[in-house]
């Protein structure tokens, strides 16, 4: 891909993989954020006046792909999004986020109506300094965790980025406008799809490797067509997610907002199916705690809930049945 920048998105893939591997050895979330920040990955989308690189969203895709594949235990998605969202309006804050000084997350579920309330689905909130909370009017506020905002551990499906609940009694802090929040949510749809792509591709690679190694009935598993076809279907699933992400970010995409939403909805179903199939191919071994396929599955399902895949599907239905698609078509035509 040619861009007006000296770099291409693919240039980040190897660095991201190496840093994610290093993160696996690091002891705490703070250590991992420091490693990511040192490599410049947290600030890829932040403005260049805010310790970032000011790059377009495509550049974050290979980084989050590596994070998904490598089961990164850090709120990298949230950090990237908030460093970008505060750039331009609150540069000091954006800088502190981009360089890893302020560790942030987002409570993806729930809205505040006033200064107090409870929100949840905030990955790794226990290890963060502040959490972004959405408000009923569409705007959002970055609340410092502590006295007025208490983090409560929650039952969590995701093991790498355990979710927490946040009980807020006094919401104060820097704000994001409704417009910025809409944009943040849209970018999050694409970047979450990149995380899912990484998790799905790693599941598929592990399943392919296992099937070519494990022998039953005197032959490797992959010698059986049923197994080949399982793997091929998951390859189609992975390539479907990859191509849809690429399309959503292409300057030639006619309706990028619809495309991003469909990419995310599609990725959640296809990504989960790929991890589930990989577990099936591993047999009893796939059901063990130590084989990390369940981690990918848990992660994908959690991302689906954080990104509200089910509600988004309802919004597609609403748009379709209201005739808005047809109206949009006509508008495009005129």
């Amino acid at each position: 891909m040619t861009t007006e920048y000296d770099l291409s998105p693919e240039d980040f893939a190897d660095t991201a993989k190496a840093v994610v591997n290093a993160c696996a050895e690091a002891g705490t979330t703070a250590d991992r954020i420091a490693l990511l920040a040192d490599a410049g990955l947290t600030g890829i989308l932040a403005g260049d006046s805010c310790g970032g690189m000011g790059l377009p969203v495509d550049f974050a895709v290979p980084v989050l792909h590596a994070a998904g594949a490598g089961m990164l235990a850090a709120p990298l998605l949230e950090t990237m999004l908030l460093a970008r969202a505060f750039s331009g309006t609150q540069d000091d804050l954006a800088t502190a986020i981009a360089i890893g000084h302020t560790k942030v997350t987002i409570a993806w579920n729930g809205e505040l109506d006033g200064a107090a309330g409870t929100v949840d689905r905030a990955p790794l909130a226990e290890d963060c300094d502040a959490v972004l909370v959405f408000r009923r009017d569409g705007s959002a506020i970055l609340v410092t965790l502590g006295a007025g905002a208490e983090v409560m551990a929650e039952d969590t499906l995701d093991l790498e980025r355990p979710e927490a609940r946040v009980v807020i009694t006094a919401a104060e802090g820097p704000e994001l406008s409704a417009e910025t929040v809409t944009e943040l949510q849209r970018i999050a749809q694409i970047l979450r799809s990149a995380l899912i792509l990484g998790a799905a591709e790693d599941s598929l690679e592990r399943a392919c490797e296992y099937a070519q190694d494990r022998r039953q009935f005197g032959k490797t598993l992959v010698s059986y067509q049923a197994i080949q076809h399982h793997l091929a279907r998951q390859c189609l699933a992975v390539e479907t997610i990859r191509n849809s992400i690429a399309r959503s970010l292409s300057p030639h995409c006619e309706m990028p907002v619809d495309a991003a939403r469909a990419t995310f909805i599609g990725a959640t179903g296809l990504g989960a199916k790929t991890a589930e199939t990989a577990i099936q191919i591993f047999g009893g071994m796939g059901y063990t705690w130590d084989v990390p396929l369940h981690r990918h599955l848990r992660f994908v399902r959690t991302l689906a809930a954080q990104g509200k895949a089910a509600e988004l599907l309802d919004s597609v239905a609403q748009q379709l049945l209201s005739g808005d698609n047809i109206k949009k078509e006509l508008q495009r035509a005129s």
């Binding site: 067509q225 080949q228 390859c235 849809s244 597609v316």
Partner: protein, 397 residues
């Protein structure tokens, strides 16, 4: 300016080849050819043929072919833009798609100058209609097992054998024939492609009735048919390479419009149901989510098509990746066809014409969709290609 705004401003201007195509199609598609209104009768072959030659005159067909052969010399991006508009317009499928999308590109790739000059403009002007003679009774999925024999003599090549499932053969003037010079044991070696004039003595075409009631695909017998040397396409050893190329085009870029036609079918179903309180309720209460899933699949399919086009523009070959859009489309479209049939089969009696039209269209789509996972390589064969050539899995035989 935000970064997304910057991206948005890079989007193509409104004056694209697609816009021109859309305006022309909107103004010129005859009522009798619309698939979204109730028709008294099926259009005739002559009407369809005339429509397609008009499409060519309007620059909508043949956009990427060189101007010297009647094309528009445009790039693949323009072809995609035009294909979107073709898809969005509820018009009949081409009766010469084999000529335009398979034979033409292969002649451009391996044909000589005389063959290009003779065949290409004739395809666009609908003077020549082509069919594809690959499959045989004993060589379907295992195409390399084909037996139709081509023997070289002083008078030219003598062809003997039988093809089957040859779409449109009884209406065609030419057949893109794959035959072999040696024996079946040679498998992929010794295969050769010909442009065979179907009016030659010894060519015998018999129609086969298919499950949709049509008599479109055929058996084609070749009994001592003498094909001039000049009608061989490429060299005798290029046959398999050329055939594989035909197949990857068939799977990937052929009927590039299908994602948008699929969308048009979905929107037709939804908008027709919205007209009547009972059908509107039916769709809203019982089918909202499944229909939304179809809409999502259509976007995902566009992702396959548009990135494949981008990759071709960057100079990459289609290769085995052609199996991805083919598989995704055929299965997603079949799923839609089942859902659509389910919906229209619950329509109340006393239907208005728009509802009768959509019912008829969806029933037809359902039956025809059965073929989509069979032709151009069955689903099982696509899965094998993906396993072996994309995943590069190794297995013992």
């Amino acid at each position: 300016m935000t970064q997304t705004a910057a991206v948005a401003s890079e989007r193509p201007s409104l004056e694209t080849a697609g816009d021109t195509a859309r305006a022309w199609l909107d103004a010129n598609l005859p009522q009798g050819l619309r698939e979204d209104i109730l028709q008294e009768r099926e259009p005739t072959f002559a009407e369809l043929s005339e429509w397609e030659s008009k499409l060519h005159k309007a620059g909508i067909i043949g956009a990427t072919w060189p101007t010297q052969y009647g094309g528009g010399d445009l790039g693949l991006r323009a072809h995609l833009d035009i294909s979107r508009e073709i898809g969005r317009t509820p018009m009949p499928e081409s009766v010469n798609s084999i000529g335009k999308e398979l034979a033409g590109p292969i002649i451009l790739a391996v044909g000589n100058e005389r063959q290009k000059a003779e065949y290409l403009p004739a395809i666009l002007e609908m003077r020549n209609i082509w069919c594809q003679g690959f499959s045989e009774p004993n060589a379907g999925s295992d195409l390399a097992g084909l037996r139709t024999k081509a023997e070289k003599t002083d008078d030219g090549w003598v062809i003997n054998g039988q093809k089957i499932w040859t779409s449109g053969a009884s209406k065609s003037s030419h057949c893109l024939l794959l035959a072999r010079t040696g024996s079946v044991e040679d498998r992929h070696r010794g295969l050769v492609l010909f442009a065979v004039d179907t009016s030659l003595p010894g060519v015998d075409i018999r129609e086969i009735k298919s499950i949709d009631g049509a008599r479109h695909f055929c058996e084609v017998f070749f009994n001592d048919v003498v094909v001039p040397e000049a009608d061989m396409l490429g060299s005798p050893d290029q046959g398999w390479a050329a055939a594989t190329r035909v197949l990857s085009i068939e799977r990937a870029t052929n009927r590039m419009h299908r994602a948008w036609r699929f969308e048009n079918q979905l929107q037709h179903l939804v908008s027709a149901c919205a007209e009547n309180p009972a059908t509107r309720r039916l769709v809203e209460h019982d089918y909202a989510r499944p229909l939304a899933e179809v809409a999502v699949n259509i976007e995902l399919l566009k992702g396959h098509v548009e990135t494949l086009v981008g990759s071709l523009i960057d100079g990459n070959e289609i290769g085995p990746r052609g199996s991805l859009p083919k598989m995704f489309w055929s299965e997603a479209h079949q799923d839609f066809s089942k859902l659509a049939l389910d919906i229209v089969s619950r329509f109340p009696p006393d239907l208005s014409d728009p509802l009768r039209a959509v019912k008829r269209r969806m029933e037809d789509i359902y039956i025809k969709a059965r073929a989509e996972t069979i032709y151009a390589g069955t689903t099982e064969i696509q899965l094998g290609i993906i396993a072996k050539r994309i995943l590069k899995l190794n297995w013992e035989r």
